[in-house]
Amino acid sequence: MNPTPDDIQILEARKAQVHTKGAAPFQLACEKHSVAGAVSQRACVFCGSRVVLYPITDALHLVHGPVGCAAYTWDIRGSQSSGPQLHRMSFSTDLREKDVIYGGEKKCEAALMELIQRYQPKAAFVYATCIVGLIGDDLEAVCRRVTERTGIDVIPVHSEGFAGSKKDGYSAACRAIDHLVGTSDAPPPPGPSINILGDFNIAGETWLIREYYERMGLNVIATITGDGRVDDIRRSHQAQLNVVQCSGSIKGLAQIMKKDYDIPFMHVSYFGLEDMSKALYDVAEHFNDPAMMVKAQALVRDEISAVMPELRKYREALQGKKAAVYTGGAFKAFSLVRSLRTLGVKTVIAGSQTGNPQDYLKLESLCDEGTVLLDDTNPLELAKFIDQTGADLLIGGVKERPIAYKLGVAFCDHNHERKDCLAGYVGMLNFAREVYSSVCSPVWSLTPRQRRTRDGQTAPLPKPIPAPPKPYLRRVRTAPKPKSNLTPLTLGGLEVTA
């Protein structure tokens, strides 16, 4: 016997983290340790740190612990680099039984020494995993010693998996980055300048965003951490503004920099036409520079008029569809609800792994009556509500994908592993295309649940909308010219010129 949606019951301990808008006054518990046995879609503290620091391309990333934590995060993200590829290597101290018994400090130090010698990184991050927290290795001391011996900043990341949630991993990463901030005395660039925080250059997105800002006449000092460079981070304190995306993950750094260097910060999102445009306008407004605002307006106008005719086609095809959205951070969920609305799609389920009370208040206010809001949900709950709401589409990451597909529901990957640029204006077009090519595929009419819920009625197959013109899409895929002031790295026998 298989469950109908009603048969799947929400665990007692989870009930406060589920809310249907309009059913009762809004209340959603969040920021809790995941319930044991609930099969949370979250990972761990280490995961939070790893995702934030990963795109720093010329740093060495050593995972101190048994092999799994490093093996499962090997080349896991689609973060691109315009130069070094060192971040894509998975280095682990691969602790064995005797290390667990006698401590792993020696091994960690030896591993660092040889890795630094071999790969000549600009800095090194050493991630503590669960077991390191238990066996009591003094990671600080190891890092200090190696720094002294090599002259390279070796930075411990306190990311023991059990010591909190993914969010705590974000803060640990921010503190680690802060070690580097302000350590360069290179002269600041002339003119208005910003740092791009919280974009991870998935499919080249940071390049795209950077180009927008540069077109407005801004100097981008550091991109943290997408296509990140240690030396850029060192002088990031020279920027006049921190523009923060994906605020959950990197807001901590912006706050530190506000406190230490008095750099103001603002929240933005680059997903969707509305949010993207608002980001550019907000930044122009911050600098209070009419010429910059004129440039921003021209940019927005040009870009929107380039994608609008194409977008309209997708909107026509998708009008009236229903979507479920489940993201890591809540900020992305806001943008997705809005972007989906641009495409005529209604959000019927919205949730995130790490939202806070303010985030959920905002999310609720964005959504329509009847939308199910979820914090730290799991496969059973997602399946239940997808079935109940009749969602046509799930937006999430690879772990959520099979839930959708098994139910004959379309899926769009909006996580770090994706290979398509979804930010900016061209990203909105890609997003529309992504959603469309899943929702409007003819394969669903063959799946058992669609046959059940539609009484075997198959919608007539529409003529597929051809993919948007190539040159426009390709533009973002070209990396900017590599910077030349970096030492060449040797990776596995291949010379990687930085």
Partner: protein
């Protein structure tokens, strides 16, 4: 033959060529009917393992976690385990819970058997799921060890003895694909025997689209079948890397007197012959005509293509059993395995290769405990033509500019891993065709003329 324990000069593991122990255990537990894998440790391990396996199988893979917090890490995970079990029972209604430990719970020394005992005592009169406990600290082995241990623990916990059933055959398949599991079942059935394949994730990790959601996907070896395993006439214990007393086959033989046939993975004509011979002796029947014909076609194709492959040099890596079997197969078609490596460290790989590939003129370099950077360095001196292994070797293949024939697990960059057949004459045929075509393709791509007949 050169056998190195691992690159003695490098301390760090760079791009590991193995996964961690609990992953293997979770995969095995997913092959038991209505069984939910459960990791006793922190949340991250189970989430990462889920993602890793979902990317390979493209199917749901729910793994529960007792989700240690700081409290549990200091004072022990009993409370978390109890709460987790209760929630899993309520949420999933499993018949079996496959509990594997992680590095964390092992290091703090949680007494899981006692916890399980007390959990049962706290729920008197309730029909609790059967609990299987596998001890799988990752710092003592690889995913392959976790897989073997989970199956051993399953059999040790559940199998019962009884009157011998001369038609019953236990099949312990090793880490193979869903398609392989199905094929092994068919082969045994064709001899008029009844197979119990453990684990059998063929339906669960390669199943149909659903009309309604299933909390635990259908499929898997039923509990009742696992109980009967002790009464089988024989056990086919496939794979030879694990220590002789570590496998479920050893338990079946020792505890229940089941005749154990410990043979390598049946990949290649000779290795498949060994499987069919075992089945002939168990059933007293000759190999069915259909398989004789398959074998005939396979050998005929070997003949047709022998010149394309002869003398080519291959690098093989992956799970030890897969590497040994592939080396044997490659050797029999005239491809020289020149470098054979595994992230596992059983100490048996060289012997396994030697027995899978008898008569090799020159033994390959064998490296246990390898990682991909060691492998890349070793590969530079062997001048190979071809790489055979899972998808994590893509970077290696790209750097060496060699074609990669993807086999085994994980395959994260191609489609259809679950349906890839490796075993038996039929699986060998598919592999052989792929290898020949891969070599033809690179020859064609490299030729200036772009030959259209090859």
């Amino acid at each position: 033959m050169i056998t190195k324990a691992s690159n003695p000069n490098f301390v760090a593991t760079r791009n590991a060529c193995k996964m961690c122990t609990p992953l293997g255990a979770c995969l095995a537990f997913a092959g038991i009917e209505k069984c939910l894998p459960f990791l006793h440790g922190s949340q991250g391990c189970s989430t990462y393992i889920r993602r890793y396996l979902i990317s390979h199988f493209r199917e749901p893979m729910d793994i529960a976690s007792s989700n240690f917090g700081e409290q549990a890490a200091i004072f022990g995970g009993q409370a978390n385990l109890s709460q987790g079990l209760s929630n899993v029972i309520q949420g999933y209604n499993p018949k079996v819970i496959g509990l594997a430990t992680t590095c964390l719970s092992e290091t703090i020394g949680d007494d899981v058997p006692m916890f399980l005992h007390e959990f049962a005592a706290e729920h008197p009169g309730e029909a609790l799921p059967v609990m299987i406990h596998a001890s799988t600290p990752s710092y003592t082995g690889s995913h392959a060890d976790g897989y073997v241990e989970a199956i051993r623990a399953t059999v040790a916990t559940i199998a019962e003895g009884g009157e011998r059933d001369v038609k019953l055959v236990d099949v312990l398949p090793g880490i193979v694909s869903p398609a392989d599991l199905r094929h092994l079942r068919e082969i045994v059935k064709a001899f008029g025997l009844e197979p119990i394949v453990l684990p059998d994730y063929s339906d669960r990790l390669d199943g149909p689209s659903w009309a309604e959601y299933r909390r635990i996907p259908e499929g898997g070896t039923p509990l009742e079948d696992i109980r009967r395993m002790g009464t089988a006439a024989a056990a086919l214990d496939l794979g030879t890397a694990a220590k002789d007393n570590a496998t479920a086959g050893a338990v079946l033989a020792k505890k229940f007197g089941v005749t154990r046939h410990r043979i390598g993975l049946p990949i290649g004509v000779r290795a498949s012959d060994a499987l069919f011979e075992a089945l002939e002796s168990i059933s007293g029947q000759p190999t069915p005509e259909a398989f004789v014909a398959e074998r005939g076609r396979l050998v005929d194709s070997y003949v047709d293509a022998h010149k394309y492959v002869f003398g080519k040099r291959a690098i093989v890596y992956g799970d030890e059993d897969m590497v040994a079997a592939m080396s044997g197969f490659l050797a029999e078609i005239g491809v020289m395995p020149v470098l054979c490596a595994s992230g596992g460290k059983s100490g048996t790989l060289a012997d396994a290769i030697a027995s899978a590939a008898p008569g090799l003129a020159e033994m390959p370099e064998v490296i246990e405990g390898v990682d991909f950077e060691d492998l890349t360095e070793a590969a530079e001196s062997v001048s190979a033509d071809l790489i055979v292994g899972h998808s994590k070797g893509y970077k290696l293949a790209r750097e060496l500019d060699l074609p990669l024939v993807r086999v085994g697990l994980p395959i994260h960059d191609r489609f259809g891993a679950a349906r890839m057949l490796h075993v038996g004459y039929e699986g060998t045929q598919q592999l052989f065709d792929r290898i020949v075509n891969t070599l033809l393709e690179s020859k064609q791509d490299l030729s200036e003329m772009g030959y259209t007949y090859l």
